[in-house]
Amino acid sequence: MVIKSSDIKKLFFLLSKKEISREDAQEKAILLRDTYDNGNLGFYPKEFENKIWDAIQFIELFAEMVEENTYLYSENDLIIYIKENGWELDA
């Protein structure tokens, strides 16, 4: 399986528009992590491996709650992360 940077961009787009829930996005991130751990995950482009991996980790924790009804990250954190790391969907 290959995870492309465009897949991550799309996932961030869906998350920011709330067209996918945090939990569903987390499921996808967990699947990617497990696939990587089994040695079956490739990154495209290869030079974005670290950036993509960081995004997977962010998406995974985006659904995590530090207390009941309190997410670790706010919606605004998502927007900031997308902007700071260049994950905006191309026009």
Binding site: I30, R33, L61, V66, E67, L72
Partner: protein
């Protein structure tokens, strides 16, 4: 002296990471180390030497190799205890005889460990008494001010059978683990108070 030791000695004269207890005991632990290449990959010195020798067989010196590895990961990965951990990973599959298959298995485990350090152990790793290894992700700070500082992903790996499990930990501002959330099967969040006492789940 084990087969791998002999092979490495003959190829590189001085191999600094080796799956041989005899050698481990005879070499100061701070000599067993890794280098972080510019690509971000952790490379044992012996691998580093092999790679460089393969591509440029002439004029290679150890000083040159050291200069090629400017980011001395060494602090993070090759501290004494951690070098010991790596040796133990190798030993989990090396019991009495050093067969080729076992050596291969050792190499695979070592490679897997390094990969996991790179991807899951940004916050460090710890070897448990039972031989399992826990890899800690960086603590991601919560933006909303509160009792909790943030959360991190923790992965545990058992080199003996390859089993893994992963969970999320929430830490308070004194870095005490206050909540553990296994990531599979919709398991609940398990809560603890500041003294570490289990207080319930939600």
């Amino acid at each position: 002296m084990c087969k791998m030791h002999t092979v490495h000695r003959s190829m590189f004269k001085e191999c600094k990471i080796i799956n041989c207890e005899t050698y481990q005991n005879s070499v100061p632990s701070n000599y067993r180390s890794f280098s972080l290449r510019k690509s971000g990959k952790l490379v044992p010195y012996c691998e580093l030497k092999r790679g460089v020798l393969g591509s440029n067989p002439s004029g290679i010196t150890e000083e040159g190799l050291a200069a090629e590895a400017p980011m001395a990961v060494i602090g993070k990965v090759a501290a004494v205890a951690k070098a010991g951990t790596i040796a133990k990973i190798a030993k989990t599959t090396t019991v009495t005889s050093e067969t080729g298959a076992k050596l291969s298995s050792n190499g695979a485990n070592l490679s897997k460990h390094l990969k996991q350090v790179e991807k899951h152990g940004q916050g460090g790793f710890k070897e448990l008494q039972n031989g399992r290894i826990r890899y800690y992700g960086n603590v991601k700070t919560a933006t909303k001010a509160g009792e909790m500082k943030g959360a991190r992903v923790v992965k545990e790996w058992n080199p003996a059978n390859g089993n893994t499990r992963t969970w999320y930990e929430t830490l308070d501002h004194s870095n005490t683990i206050r909540q553990v959330h296994p990531k599979y099967n919709n398991l609940p969040h398990f809560k603890f108070d500041a003294s570490g006492k289990y207080t319930g789940k939600w």
